[in-house]
């Protein structure tokens, strides 16, 4: 798997991975705010968010129609849609693309659901490796508590109920998340994850995130050429020229 830098893309892709409740979404949001404030061309993309595929996914989830295989394929479809229509063009245009979850989420979840690892990796083999992947690693209990405190009603697939690990959604969720965590840890080395201690305070983590990004990327290169050009009819000099031409016509 080659990174976007190795493939000579002018843009760079940064991904965050981790369990639900690891705080990764908060961290990448804060990273985005910082980069925007620095005047950098930045785009944020979230797992499972392609408009077109979403309606099928939510129907499948609501009606509990999904099997491990279709669960995997529909998420791959969603990813491919975002990858081909947004990520690749933006990366070619020199953007910093921030991804809340990347292919590693599928590698961890789908394999936990019983899909063969080679098959899942094969599905996503069209995707390049992020230039930086931060894995927000919490103790299992910490992330479980964050989720279970704030959002007491667990969804069927989220709790891994399709795996029949337990009839109790909370117990099922615990076992399921524990297995996903094992998968993440197992692939940390293979995919160059930077492991972040997600038990720490939000602010402390964000300081580290920004430092890491600044070290890894030459941020100046990704600045917008400011400001964005105005459409022609709003440019005062054009307006004047038009007036001159009108006068000449008379």
């Amino acid at each position: 798997m080659k990174t976007f830098a190795e493939l000579n893309f002018p843009g760079r892709l940064i991904a965050v991975e981790g369990l639900d409740g690891s705080g990764k979404s908060t961290q990448i949001y804060l990273l985005k705010r910082w980069l925007e404030a620095e005047g950098i061309k930045v785009y944020f993309s979230e797992w499972n968010s392609s408009e077109l595929v979403k309606s099928a996914t939510s129907k499948g989830k609501k009606r509990e129609l999904l099997t491990p295989t279709t669960f995997s394929l529909i998420h791959a479809t969603d990813f491919a849609d975002r990858y081909e229509r947004h990520l690749v063009p933006l990366l070619r245009a020199g953007y910093i693309v921030l991804c809340d979850r990347y292919v590693f989420t599928a590698f961890a979840r789908d394999v936990t659901r019983g899909c063969p690892p080679e098959w899942v990796r094969g599905l996503y083999s069209f995707a390049a490796q992020p230039d930086l992947t931060m894995f927000f690693k919490t103790d299992l209990e910490v992330s479980l508590n964050r989720i279970l405190e704030g959002r007491p009603k667990l969804k069927f697939f989220e709790a891994g109920m399709d795996l029949h690990l337990s009839t109790d959604p909370y117990e099922s969720f615990r076992i399921f998340q524990g297995r996903i965590l094992e998968q993440y840890v197992a692939m940390s080395g293979e995919f160059d994850f930077v492991v972040m201690d997600a038990n720490q305070h939000v602010e402390k983590q964000q300081v580290l995130v920004r430092k890491l990004v600044a070290e890894k990327l030459d941020l100046k290169k990704f600045k917008r050429r400011s400001p964005l050009p105005l459409p022609p009819s709003f440019r005062p000099e054009d307006k004047m020229k038009e007036n001159e031409e009108d006068l000449a016509a008379v």
Binding site: V53, A56, L66, T67, L73, A76, T77, R113, W119
Partner: protein, 237 residues
């Protein structure tokens, strides 16, 4: 045969198959009919169902873009022509997998004859013609069980034009491969695309070994040939 119960054909998946499905649980027969629009696929399948049911076989039919899960979204996406290659390919694979797990495999387990109006070969051929990686496709469709018989109804592209025009008075955008931009002219495009599809099918035939049926002939003689071949398959038991 007395010991036919114990002599179940050993079915194989093309790859690893589907989690938790054992090939030996699958009884039934899976029969696939492939071919372009206008090759007579649907007519032949309808006739086969009629014949099989009157001779006491339970049948189930499947085809592309018929899943509960994604068929309507897939239709919408196609009409807008907004999806890129990999996405469309995976969307079709999802549609196939949904039918595979919810219809094909349960029916085969119950000993039905499943008639597939197109199968993974059409999906693969379409993608190969569009430049997708064959190895990637092979891995993707490793979930598919190997059919008991595959019949490819081969019709000359010029004849396909005639049949499609006489039926619909127009050539379908996707069946003409217009998304490939082979030509601005839909007529030329259709011929080029169908020729490429045919070449790809012949290439796939070498790997997957399906029966090529000359479908330039009248319907009745094709039906006769199909019945003979399927009859022989059913008699093996």
């Amino acid at each position: 045969m007395k010991n036919s119960e114990t002599q179940k054909t050993c079915r194989r998946f093309y790859g690893h198959g589907i989690p938790n499905i054992k090939p030996e649980d699958i009884a039934g027969k899976l029969i696939v009919v492939e071919g372009a629009d206008g090759s007579g696929r649907s007519t032949q399948i309808a006739r086969l169902v009629e014949w099989l049911e009157t001779t006491g076989h339970a049948t189930v039919q499947v085809g592309l873009k018929r899943s509960t899960l994604v068929s309507s979204e897939l239709e919408k996406a196609q009409n807008g022509n907004i999806l890129s290659r990999t996405t469309l390919s995976l969307f079709y694979a999802t549609d196939f997998a949904d039918q595979l797990e919810n219809i094909i495999l349960p029916a085969l387990k119950a000993g039905f004859i499943v008639l597939a109006d197109r199968y993974i070969y059409t999906l693969m051929a379409r993608d190969i013609v569009r430049g997708m990686d064959e190895k990637w496709l092979k891995n993707l469709y490793g979930i598919a069980p190997e059919p008991d018989a595959v019949f490819y109804l081969s019709v000359e592209p010029e004849e396909l034009v005639q049949r499609n025009l006489s039926k619909n008075a127009t050539l379908d955008y996707w069946e003409s491969g217009m998304d490939l931009g082979l030509s601005r002219d839909v007529f030329d495009c259709f011929l080029k695309y169908q020729t490429a599809m045919q070449d790809t099918f012949l290439k796939l035939q070498k790997t997957y070994g399906f029966n090529i049926i000359d479908a330039n002939r009248p319907m009745d003689s094709i039906t006769k040939e199909l019945r003979k071949k399927i009859g022989a398959l059913l008699d093996e038991e």
